[in-house]
């Protein structure tokens, strides 16, 4: 097989799988709670800085995962308790609140670490052979983790009791409360799970990209494109959205250059908003 074709194919899979990881937290919060979390990119940023903190302390990279989860969980609980819980079922207000929140989080990080770039060293340098072609090991690992997390999450959501409760809450909160589901707590935990997934994405991507206070803005726009295309509320929708956006971006970029790739994504997003506003797979 043509070695360049192998690399391109892997790049496309990488693009789609990382996009899935990036959007996951947002999709949970938006799809299940109808909270449009514009600060989602900042949770990714917080995760990346948590990883940077761990590296700075000389801890092994794996420590970044529990540490980032810890920070994101505390932040998530605080934010849900003080801001978000008053705004369920008011999507537009959540948009404004989280927009302001994104500024606050950026400013706090800037206060501590400054505006400058931080660089994280690659925890698994070197490359592995895929069909006789070297491919960066860490990227390969990120792809595997992303694919595994889709499967685990899908099975869990379909099979577990909590998954069923969440579904009940989403479909009809009053009825859910009536049968003894503690909807307030469930919503809070769901929000926290969303912020934690954001921070995890940050930990995974930090060694691959630039780390600076504004990095979150890179992710938020594409994330919403994925939700527009895929539809909200299902893992299948999220996967297909990531597949379409990541695939178009990657394929068109490889064929015609970066500008065309970006143009392709915008075009797809506009077409979907216009002709299929509920996305490919919508829950209702």
């Amino acid at each position: 097989m043509d070695p360049i074709a192998v690399t391109i194919a892997l790049n496309i899979i990488y693009e789609i799988t990382t996009l899935f990881v990036i959007v996951l937290g947002l999709a949970i919060v938006f799809g299940l709670l109808k909270v449009m979390n514009l600060a989602h990119g900042e949770f990714i940023m917080v995760g990346a800085y948590a990883a940077y903190f761990c590296q700075d302390q000389g801890w092994p990279y794996i420590m970044a995962i529990p540490f980032a989860l810890f920070i994101a969980a505390i932040l998530g609980y605080l934010i849900e308790f003080t801001l978000i819980r008053h705004l369920y079922r008011r999507p537009f207000d959540t948009l404004l609140v989280t927009w302001g929140l994104s500024f606050l989080l950026r400013e706090v990080i800037e206060l501590v670490y400054g505006k400058g770039f931080q660089s994280l060293s690659n925890p698994i340098p070197g490359s592995i052979d895929v069909l006789g072609e070297p491919y960066p090991s860490y990227r390969a690992l990120v792809m595997v983790i992303a694919i595994l997390s889709v499967l685990v999450l899908w099975v869990w959501y379909r099979r577990s009791l909590t998954g069923a409760r969440v579904k009940a809450m989403v479909e009809n909160p009053e009825l859910a409360r009536a049968v003894g589901i503690r909807v307030d707590n469930l919503a809070r935990h769901t929000f926290v799970v969303g912020t934690c997934f954001g921070a995890l994405a940050g930990v995974m991507l930090a060694p691959l990209t630039r780390v600076e206070p504004f990095m979150g803005l890179d992710y938020i726009l594409t994330s919403f494109f994925v939700l527009v295309v895929g539809g909200v509320g299902t893992i299948l929708g999220l996967s297909s959205g990531a597949g379409v956006i990541g695939g178009v971006q990657s394929v068109v970029s490889n064929l015609f250059g970066e500008t065309s790739g970006y143009f392709g994504v915008l075009l797809i997003a506009i077409l979907f908003l216009w002709l299929k506003p509920n996305g490919l797979i919508s829950r209702s």
């Binding site: 391109i8 400058g116 060293s121 960066p136 860490y138 691959l208 970029s253």
Partner: protein, 393 residues
Amino acid sequence: MLNGKKTSRRTVLKATLGGAALAAAPGLIKYANAASDFKIGLFIPLSGPAALFGPSAKNCGELAIDEVNKSGGVLGRQAKLYIADAGVPPAEAAKSAVRLMLRDKVDLIVGNHDSAVRQAIVGAVKGKIPYVYSPVYEGGECSPNVFMLGETPQQQLMPAIDHFAKTKGVKSYYLIGNDYVWPRVTNKLAKKYIAAAGGNVVGEEYIPFGPANKFESAVTRIKSAKPDLVVITLVGGDNVNFNRTFAEFGLDKNISRVASLLEENTLMGVGAESSGNLYSSMAYFANIESAENKAFVSSYKAKFGAKAPVLNTLAESNYAGIIFGAALTNKTGSTNAAKLAATAEGLTVSTPTGAVTMRNRHTDKNMYLAKCNGTQFKIAKVFNKVPSGQTCT
């Protein structure tokens, strides 16, 4: 307004009066010492994508003012700084320039920003006061009463490409840059120098300026094109992401890279693991071993402390711009445009880069080719007194 229904006429009145008082206050203070100061308007990026350079640029501006005043000021007056944000859309910058001229009555403008903002400021100032444009740029500005201190593509790439061809046997080149005027003009000229050095261009591409770019596909194209040298005119975060992806795919071992805007902050983002065989060609690095630079760095550290924002070419250009503007005005004895232009030709001023000599309103200056060693620059080659290749009359 977001809280529209709560706004009463009284609060509007209060806010307006308060705002008016605030706006008037600096004016009142200003008129107290208006006659005595030589006012310098300084455009630096305080917001927007280049805001990272704001703090160091501001420090360098203040340091330059200190030194100008220590040596007697400008035209016998104390120099005073008026800072404006250059990280705004060009039309906003033009408004700031007008405000600086009409309200603050500045005598000189020094600016460090992109070319779109420069054109807007040139259009607003219309040559009425001298304007020193200090950062690296693509060349071609010849408007009256505008003086360029930054290095041009000819200075950055002509000697460097010749050096790579002769000492490293580089034959094939790949050009990658952001999609705006500076990279495109730079690469147009680079192709001339590559042809002159007997090399050929195996690929050229431009990445949109602004969106969240990824570089897997570009790096894959470079991998299949197999150039000897990649000439990079990406800036900021894109420069970081490109170089990290490039090294991650293992291309750094066999392919050298030379960047035209890789300074201390950007290299920090690229990181030690990704900076193998990476070079930067610029007129200033914070660790240049010249007497001028050592004095500059030590007074910067003395004034702002050891933890001050790291020095870089863009911030240094602000310092050099003010020093140059003051020297030019002092030597001319006035701010008359025709007299300034006459004095400027051939004027030599000492800056942290070394002595720079103005010719055709651009400067002949020393150029440095630095090799990245981890997250530090190591000067690999100095090209003395490189001409700008500009032909303004």
